[in-house]
Amino acid sequence: MFAATLRLATPIVYGSLGGLFSERAGIVNIGLEGMMLTGAFAGVAVSQFSGFAWLGVLAAVAAGGLLGLLHGVITVKFAGNQVVSGTGINIFALGFTAYMSQVLWGSRGASEGYVPGLPPISIPLLQDVPILGDIISGHTPLVYLMVVITVLSYVILFKTPLGLRIRAVGERPEAADTAGINVFKTKYLCLIISGMLAGVGGSFLSLGHLNLFALGMTGGRGFIALAAMILGKWMPFGAFGASVLFGFADALQMRLQSLGILPPQIILAIPYILTIAVLAGVVGKAIPPSNYKPYVKE
């Protein structure tokens, strides 16, 4: 079950890191859900079409990045409302993926046919370690990648000039502007990164385990990722930890289902109730680092 935890946490980790980059630059990314979903779809579609799973992942990255850019254009260039834009992207993703799957596979929201997936890899020495080996080894590469990206996120945000500028842009855009930093470009960059990360997370959902696409398969994970980000106090390692927690809840829910103690619907509701409970519990300590007002120059 712990292996399942890592697996189930993966899309949430990517999502929460994506949300993190966006929010650190001062933009709320409610559209993570939609970016993930589109990523999931793009991954499956391109993977099937090309025969290479990794190409699918790349496509997911591109799709997510594009949606991130869209969110950026609306909220930054046109000073649109961030929540509305994000929600619009979510609805668009739902409709678009359902529509396109009908077009491609003739069935509304479910892929047909063989889809090359990402192969699991076993880490040579680690896999022989009792208990721990089973948990850690044998996952698809994206799971390992998520650890790398988490560390990378921390390094970028706190150890590089770029990260410094991102944080400045998010906290006090006027100060960054006066210091000569291009506020708009920085925000765009972060949103594109945000979308790309969400896309990867989405592609893992579809390619990493099930090798198919199903209507609305992200099931609210984009929002759970946001909750994980908040719980993790907008820090990469915190978000990672929080996501693992949610992954655990998900794994628990699946195990409960297979045990058949409670009716499936109630069990399915658990992760969502947990998210609410967790958010409520983070009271007061959850002060976002950024100022979310759109930055307007004269």
């Binding site: 409610i30 869209l70 254009v73 609306i74 260039k77 046109f78 000073a79 649109g80 409302n81 929540v83 509305v84 834009s85 929600t87 619009g88 992207i89 979510n90 609805i91 668009f92 993703a93 739902l94 409709g95 678009f96 359902a98 529509y99 396109m100 009908q102 077009v103 509304r108 099931g219 609210g220 929002f223 946001l226 909750a227 908040i230 009716p263 619907q265 109630i266 399915l268 509701a269 969502y272 109730i273 998210t275 609410i276 958010l279 409520a280 983070v282 009271v283 007061g284 959850a286």
Partner: protein, 369 residues
Amino acid sequence: MQNLSERLGTLVRLLRGLLLRLLADLRGALPKMLPQVVAILLAFLVGAVVLAVTGYSPLDAYGAMLFGAFGDASGLGQTFTQATPIIFTALAFLFAYKCGLFNIGAEGQFLVGAFAAALVGISFGGLPAFVHIPLSLLGGVVAGAFWGFVPAILKARLGTHEVITTMMLSYVALYVTGYFVNYPFKEPGGWTAQTVVISPSAELPRILEPTQLSASIFVALLLAGLTYYTLQRTTIGYEIRAIGLNPSAAEAGGISVGKGIILALVISGAMAGLGGAGEVLGVHRRFIEGFSPGYGWDGLAVALVGGLNPVGILLASVLFGALRSGGMTMTRVSHVPLDIATILQALVILFVAAPKLVQYLMKRGRSKR
């Protein structure tokens, strides 16, 4: 003691005064709605591109949609039937929005309201209609209000972001009602996940046979008027708007921000719940799993497209109702996937979300001439 004719006269004068004021406000509001109209047109344009690229003829598709929605009495009836629940959820979003809150869980509040109304409608079989109907509607209101209360109190007391909590509760509502309708309250002997029919005394009458259009639309219209009145002409509305625009100044002016937030979200949930109740009592007469094709989301789009005022919402609801009813015809006739309607909806939201975009395009259009 005034006699009847005198009282009637005052009533007529009052109504006329209200109507004139409404029309005056409307005339003021319409030109402001130009950006929304442009946004709609742009959305349809992009939608046409999507259709064309995937091998369908936009003209055929839109034509079928138009005919399906407005071409004949049954289509028209279907359009208004589809518009009705959307009016409720749009008003719900609007009301919360005026208080600075994003209630994106209208879908969930709608569902629980629907289920509660179904329950009340099924039980209490022996009541006269004029008691049973309001009682069932009340059930929906209470359920929706409760579904709005949870995120409300979390926000007011703990500052928890209502976007995530309302969204999560939507899923919870989906699963909880799903559970109830699949197990304890499932109609015995059938395969479909639905409850038994409500008793006839709880049914909202149909007003345009043989379409499904029910008296629920009157409730919706009444609610729209009530919303307008509450927001503009009562102290509660004043306080809610004040909180939405500037909570600091509102607080300094003696307004209790916490109470206002709770009230706004509870009323918002209640409205959505009422909409769900109306659907069950008027159209389906029972609770069926998955009966809502996403009315909550339509409501969000409609509230935005309608320029966040009750009149615009009514107009935009008809538009989206047309999308749904016309969409069904369109799928039947030209085999375009129904989801194009969702795509159009999303495009409208995106274009409306960026008012400056539309302004920018309008300016460019003007300068080109």
